[in-house]
C-alpha cells in the first residue's frame, strides 16, 4: 500500500519534471529577470544598468496612449471576430450536411497554411489605393483611404484571427443537446426565441474561449498594427519593440511588459467573471 503510493508519487514527479524544468527555465527565470530589470536604470548608451528605482513605473503614463489604443482596438477587434465567426460556426455545427462538415472545417483553418506575414502583405495590396478603394471609386465612392488606418487593423484582425475563433464556438454548438431545442419549441418558443434563450447561452463558453485566445494574441500583437497600421497605429507591443530595439531602454520596457501582463490578467479576470455569470443566469432562466 505504502510503497504503491510512493511509487505513484515518483511516477507523478517524473512525469511532471520535464514540464517543470521547461517552465522554470523558460518562464519563471525570465520573468524574474524582467522583474529585476524593471527596477533598474537605462545605461547611458542603452541597455540595463543595476539600480533600485520606481521611476520606470512612475513613467508609465508616457506610454498611456499606446495602452489606450490597445485597450480600445483589441477588445473591439475581438468582438468583431466573434460576431463574424458565430454564423460560420453555427452553420458548420447545425446546418451543414455532416458529409461536408470536416472538409469545411479544414477550409476554415486553411489560411494558417500560409505565413501570417505573407497574408498581411496581401492585405496591404488589397486595402491599398489600387485595391478595394479603386473598385469603390468605380461605383462613385472616391478617394477612400483604408490602409494604414485603425480600420485596416480591425479588418486584418478579423481576417487573421477568425480561424482561431470558429473552432471553439463550433465545438460548443455541436455538443448542444438538440432535445433542448425541441423542448423549447414544444413549449411554444419561436425559433428566434429558442436561439436567444437556449442556443446562445449554451454556446457562450465556446465564445468565451475563442475570444480569450484572440484577445490575448491581439493585446501583445505588434506585427498587425505595424503592417496594416503603417506605423501610425501604435499598440503596447509596438511600444515594447521600440523600447527594446530602438531606444534600448530595457528597464522601462520591462516595466511596460509587466504592466501589459497585469492589464491582461485583470481584463481576463473581469471578462471571465462576466461571461460565467451571464451563462449561469441564462441557464437558470432556461431551467
Amino acid at each position: 500500500m505504502n510503497t504503491t503510493q510512493q511509487r505513484s508519487g515518483l511516477v507523478t514527479t517524473a512525469l511532471l519534471a520535464p514540464a517543470g524544468v521547461f517552465f522554470f527555465f523558460l518562464l519563471i527565470l525570465p520573468l524574474i529577470v524582467i522583474i529585476v530589470y524593471s527596477f533598474g536604470e537605462r545605461a547611458p548608451a542603452g541597455g540595463y544598468s543595476p539600480a533600485f528605482t520606481f521611476d520606470n513605473y512612475l513613467n508609465l503614463p508616457a506610454r498611456g496612449k499606446a495602452i489606450l489604443n490597445t485597450l480600445t482596438l483589441a477588445p473591439l477587434a475581438t468582438l468583431l471576430t466573434a460576431v463574424a465567426a458565430y454564423p460560420i460556426a453555427y452553420f458548420l455545427a447545425v446546418k451543414v450536411d455532416p458529409r461536408w462538415r470536416l472538409a469545411l472545417l479544414v477550409l476554415v483553418m486553411a489560411p494558417f497554411w500560409t505565413s501570417q506575414l505573407l497574408r498581411y502583405y496581401a492585405w496591404i495590396l488589397i486595402l491599398g489605393s489600387k485595391g478595394i478603394p479603386s473598385w469603390l471609386a468605380l461605383i462613385g465612392i472616391p478617394d477612400l483611404r483604408i490602409i494604414n488606418t485603425p480600420y485596416a487593423v480591425l479588418i486584418g484582425a478579423v481576417y487573421g484571427f477568425l480561424p482561431l475563433m470558429v473552432p471553439p464556438i463550433y465545438v460548443s454548438l455541436e455538443k448542444l443537446d438538440k432535445r433542448l431545442l425541441e423542448a423549447s419549441a414544444d413549449l411554444g418558443a419561436t425559433p428566434w426565441r429558442s436561439f436567444m434563450q437556449v442556443t446562445l447561452p449554451m454556446s457562450l463558453p465556446g465564445v468565451a474561449t475563442g475570444s480569450m485566445l484572440v484577445f490575448i494574441l491581439l493585446m501583445g500583437d505588434y506585427i498587425l498594427p505595424q503592417f496594416l497600421g503603417g506605423g501610425k497605429v501604435f499598440f503596447i507591443g509596438n511600444a515594447l519593440v521600440d523600447l527594446f530595439l530602438q531606444s534600448r531602454n530595457w528597464p522601462f520596457g520591462a516595466a511596460l511588459s509587466l504592466s501589459l501582463c497585469a492589464i491582461m490578467f485583470v481584463a481576463i479576470f473581469l471578462y471571465m467573471r462576466f461571461v460565467l455569470r451571464q451563462s449561469n443566469l441564462r441557464q437558470e432562466a432556461v431551467v
Binding site: R42, P44, A45, G46, G47, A62, R63, K65, A66, N69, I124, L125, G128, S129, K130, R145, I147, N148, G230, G231, K232, F234, N238, A239, D242, L243, F244, L245, Q246, S247, R248, N249
Partner: protein, 381 residues
Amino acid sequence: MTDTISTKTFLEELRRYQKGSVSRRHFLGVTGLGLATAVMAGAVPGLKPRRALAQNLSGTLNFTTWPNYFAQANFDEFTKKTGVPINVAVFGSNEEMLAKLQAGGTGWDVFVPTNYTISTYKDLGLIEPLDLKRLPNYDLSTQDPRFVSEGTIDGVVYAVPKDWGTTGYVINTKNVKSNPTTWKEFWDLTKGELTGRTMVHDYQLTTIGNALKYFGYSFNSNDEKELADAEKLLLEVKPHLFAINSDYQPSMRNGDAWMSVCWTGDAVQLNRDIPEMQYVLGREGGEIWTDYYAIPKGAQNPDAAYAFIDYILTPEVNAREVEAHGYPSTDSRTNALVPKAMLENPILYPAQDLLSNLEFGAAATLTNPLRAEIMARFKAA
C-alpha cells in the same frame, strides 16, 4: 641582410606608405620588414601573411546589412571562390543592430554600421579592431578622407567604408507638381495638398532631424527647446502621413505614397525604374553619412569575415555593388570603374552647394533618450 635603417627613415617610409605614395612591397623591402617577417614566419607559422581568399576557409559567413544593399552576383561569386555560403540578415535601424549586439550571441561575422555608431560600439567593446594586413585590397590612399575618419578611433581602425550617401526625399513628379526644394516645403506639402501621401522613416535620427530642419536648426540638435519645436511639428503632421515606415519603396512604387524621406540608393533604384521619381536634398541641409564594414567582437568566422571584406572592397567587385545598390563608393579606384552615367547622376553626386549644408549624424543624436521619447509620442499620437 638589408642595411639597418634609422628610426626617422623608418617613420618617413611608414608615412609614405600610409599616404599611399609607395606600395606595400616597396615599404616592406626598404624597411627590411618583409625579410624579417619572412624569416620569422619560417619559425612561427602564425605570422605567415595570409592570402586574402585563402583556400582553407570553412563554415558560413553571417552578414548583417540594410535592405536593397548588395549585389547578389558578388555574393554568389564569393561563395563559388571560397566555398563559404553567405547568410544575409537585413535590419531596419542602427539602434536595432546595437540592441542585438548588446544582447549578445548574434553569431554575426560582418555587419554594416553607420558612421555615428562606431564610437559607441567601440566604447561598449562590441567591435574588433581591424587587422589591415588581412585586407590587402583596402587602400587608405584612394579613400575620400571625409568618409574614413569615423572608422578610426585613437589611431585604431575599427571599420572600413562601404559607401556613402545622403538623406533627402523622393517625390513622384506625376503627382507632385510644385517642384519643392526645401525641407520646409516637404512638411508644408504634407500638411497641405499631399495629405495622406507622405511617408517618413521609422527612425528618430532622420525623422526628428529633418523636422528640425523645418526651423533651420541643426540636424543633430539635442537642445530641449528645439526638439520641442520639432515634436510640435511632427504631432501636427501625424494625421496627414500615409505611413511611418523605413521601407518606403513598395508604397512609392504602387502609387499609395507620393513623397517620402529617402536615402540616396533608394532614390536611384526608384528613379531607374520610374523616371518620374525625383530626389530632393533640402536646401537647409540634412544628413550625409558613411556606412562601414566592421567585425563584431567574438565573430565565429573571422577568417571568412576578412576574406569577405577584402573581396568586396576589390575595385571591380565594389563597382558591381555600386551599380546594384546605387550608393556612391568612397574609393576612387572603384569610381574609375563605375559607369559614367552614374558618376554624373545628381542623385548620387549632388551639387556642391547642396552638399556643403549637410551634416554627419553624431553619436549623441542616436543615443539621446529625449529623442527616443519624442519618437514614441509621435508614433502613439
